[in-house]
Amino acid sequence: MFAFIVKRVAQALLVMMIIGFIGFAIKHNFGDPVRDLVGQRVTPEERAEIRERLGLNDPFFVQYGRFLKNAVQGDLGRSFFFKKPAMDIIMQKAPATLELVFASACIIVFLSVPLGIFCAIRPRHWFSRFTMGGSIVGVSMPVFLTAILLIYVFSVELGWLPSYGRGETVTLFGWWKSGLLTADGLEHLIMPSIALSSIMLPLFIRLIRSEMMEVLESEYVKYAWAKGIKPSRVWIVHAFKNTLLPVITVGGVQLGIMVAFTILTETVFNWQGMGAMFIESVERADTSLMVAYLVFVGFIFVLVNTLVDIIYGLINPMVRVTGRK
């Protein structure tokens, strides 16, 4: 078991190195951040001088070496625009994104589980057909379209919900700005989290439904029926518990994807998180911040996947056995 964990962690580190290299290579070829720092009338000579001061004229490998050396110490460079270390900016913006992902995950869990179970148990019920049909629409509608529709209906036409921003926040632990503890913050959270969950929710309903239907066909469920156990107990304890495992695995991967999807949602709702920050840093050619974001999100991906793998390995030793081959 220990060897398995060490191996997974080593693989994760290698992936991080590769992400760092790709990110840095993009940075090097992306554009000139100085262009966005100065006005149009600054001469090319003066711009070159500023680039020199920022160390942007050094050869690729000199810059990459410096980047790696600093990255190991947790320093991912300095954002040209914010005039602060990139990591500080990301840590300042991360709570907004993570809260949004958390709220969406809650919506997904609380809706997909009952709906998925219901659709598996009563596949021919009109409500099941309606849900399955609706989920196809949900999957095929892009997030930003959902978001714009929500804004136009609930903010512009009805005036019920605020159209942008995070609303009022409170500070926890001295640095985590949370919108989850104020009424205003929760009100602002409703539409973005619905928009973000709209992509994943149908997927999970379908996944739970199909897994559950398979389990319901299995021998031990038939045996449970034969023993005359209460239907609710068969469904929840016997069937659903065994549906959960693949769902958790997929969920882990999807969580990472959801962090990436916040880019669109945050831009439309002007949600001050990492996603909107990333798009803006691309527009400003704030290359250091771009790389830092890629590395940070890559890190979340790798961390979640590694954890899922390790947990799965603990649960099902077969995985470890095949991995050793």
Partner: protein, 535 residues
């Protein structure tokens, strides 16, 4: 089965640990929450008694240091927190602000009488020394030193009289004084370094004489300003001004339509009709002064050296149609660089679109069968930039010129532009000095590293007569004579088809209809929010 159970036990354990974390976090936050509720009640009470206004812009200032960048956004900010010596009115006259009066005492010296009794936000008194200090600092700024190159220095004659001395006679000394926003010398001195991409005192602190004081600044997010109660003159009635950055245009419009913000700028052309038709909102527009042009590179493309080919291209492009269809009427078709109201403007130069004439010119030039060339344009810099470029491609195909167009985001565009990587390149320009000469200095004078002229002349157009006239106009202090020279420049460029003029972008602001938006805006796009009155 047993294995599954042991796995679930792990999960339960994990969930418990997480729950414990959450509970401890909540316990911790309880105090915070009650405290914040008290704070909330307090701010609510304030909100009832103060006039607060929320403005959404595409970007907020990049720093609190007004000299760190020369851009529209920074000048908008300067008008809120600082105050210029003089400023432009809506009809392009100059009105006194911190300078009460001025007088040309010799060809190179302009003497200003400064207002007495003006105080900075720090409480320090405003004197001539502050003007001297500010000009010195401007000359140290990477962005502003080019603009202030003609200035020798400022000299304090007495505590409230200051002389601006130029190296040579200079016709734009007064116009350039609209850029001098005096900084508080005592406040900044000793910690006044201008830092572009790192922390500095001036990046985070301010002391100006302007109508607003910065109370909160979150880079890239918001700027909160409060009324400065020691302001030297009458002001509007907005006591708290919150400036929010909403870069996404549809989101900005939605925020206004849903009444979440009171004022937005800029307004995308696609949503103007909707705003105009919405009750309780109003749209204010003015003709702008940024010209959108195409440059034809004569060094890369021998065909473009032929005056007839250049003229054919100008005749083939229907820029009036572009304004009508693509810009939805939100622009002014152009045939010269400077807009109406500028010194060099010539009424008689009008857009010329004549496809037959264009074809004839191509024939005369010996390119009846046309040729192929490349073109680049940005796709997120000017209003509808990529769409305009596409329209140009189809218009040029009608005279046999096949154009291979590439559009790209501005982050990549400027490198390509500087490298002169295509035969036709798009550029927009707003004159820093609100004067015609500025366009020529950057866009059409012979490119030269030594003099710095023609820095953005990717057409490599070079006409000694134009250069001569523009340089002579710089030291001409007789404004009528100067205007004549600049008009001559525009006429030469027109006849020569030195570049392809498309249109001047208009400007638009949208707000609730209970305020005097139309009075505070201007063609430079520096709304004077200090004068804003909300009923």
């Amino acid at each position: 089965m047993k294995r599954f159970h042991s796995g679930i036990r792990y999960l339960v354990l994990l969930a418990l640990v997480f729950a414990a974390l959450v509970v401890s976090g909540c316990a911790d936050s309880k105090k915070e929450e009650t405290k914040s509720e008290a704070e909330k009640a307090e701010t609510q009470q304030q909100a009832e008694t103060t006039t607060s206004l929320t403005v959404a812009m595409d970007a907020i200032p990049v720093s609190l240091d007004p000299h760190v960048q020369l851009s529209g956004g920074m000048l908008q900010y300067s008008h809120l927190v600082f105050d210029p010596l003089v400023r432009w009115t809506q009809d392009m006259e100059i009105e006194p602000r911190l300078a009460e009066s001025w007088e040309q005492i010799d060809p190179t010296t302009l003497r200003f009488k400064l207002r007495k009794g003006v105080k900075f936000h720090s409480g320090n008194e405003f004197t001539a020394e502050d003007v001297v200090y500010t000009l010195e600092r401007l000359k140290k700024s990477d962005d502003f030193k080019g603009l202030f190159e003609p200035f020798e220095k400022a000299v304090a004659v007495d505590s409230h009289t200051v002389d601006l001395i130029t190296k040579k006679p200079y016709g734009l000394t007064l116009a350039m004084s609209t850029y001098i926003f005096p900084l508080d010398k005592k406040f900044y001195e000793g910690k006044d370094e201008i830092v572009k991409s790192g922390p500095s005192f001036a990046n985070e602190n301010e002391s100006g004489t302007g109508p607003y004081v910065v109370t909160k600044y979150v880079p890239g997010e918001q700027l909160v300003l409060n009324e400065y109660d020691g302001y030297w003159t009458e002001r509007g009635n907005v006591e708290e001004l919150v400036v929010k950055a909403i870069p996404n245009a549809p989101a900005r419009v939605a925020a206004l339509l849903s009444k979440d913000v009171d004022f937005i700028m800029p307004v995308p052309p696609t949503d103007m009709k909707r705003i105009e038709e919405t009750e309780g909102l109003k749209l204010t527009t003015l003709p702008g002064s940024r010209i959108i042009t195409l440059q034809l590179n004569q060094e890369r493309r021998p065909e473009f050296q032929n005056q007839k080919v250049r003229q054919a291209i100008v005749y083939a492009i229907d820029n009036v149609g572009i304004v009508k269809k693509i810009m939805k009427g939100f622009g002014t078709p152009a045939a010269q660089q400077g807009p109406k109201g500028y010194a060099g403007y010539l009424e008689e130069l009008q857009p010329r679109y004549d496809l037959e004439k264009a074809k004839q010119l191509m024939k005369d030039a010996g390119y009846e069968n046309g040729f192929e060339c490349t073109m680049i344009a940005p796709n997120n810099r000017y209003v509808n930039d990529a769409k305009i470029a596409e329209a140009v491609v189809s218009m040029l195909s009608k005279i046999g010129i096949k154009v291979n167009l590439k559009t790209m985001p501005k982050a990549q565009y400027w490198d390509q532009f500087d490298a002169r990587s295509a035969d036709i390149q798009m550029i927009g320009w707003h004159s820093d000095t609100e004067d015609s000469a500025n366009f020529s200095e950057f866009l059409v004078m012979c490119p030269s590293k030594e003099t710095g002229y023609g820095q953005y002349n990717s057409g490599e157009y070079c006409n000694p007569k134009v250069d001569e006239l523009v340089i002579a106009s710089q030291s001409e202090t007789d404004m009528a004579k100067r205007a004549e020279m600049l008009q001559e420049v525009e006429r030469l460029l027109f006849e020569d088809a030195a570049f392809v003029p498309l249109h001047w972008q208009n400007l638009a602001w949208a707000s609730k209809d209970n305020m005097n938006t139309e009075v505070i805006v201007n063609t430079m796009n520096f709304p004077y929010f200090g004068d804003l009155v909300v009923e």
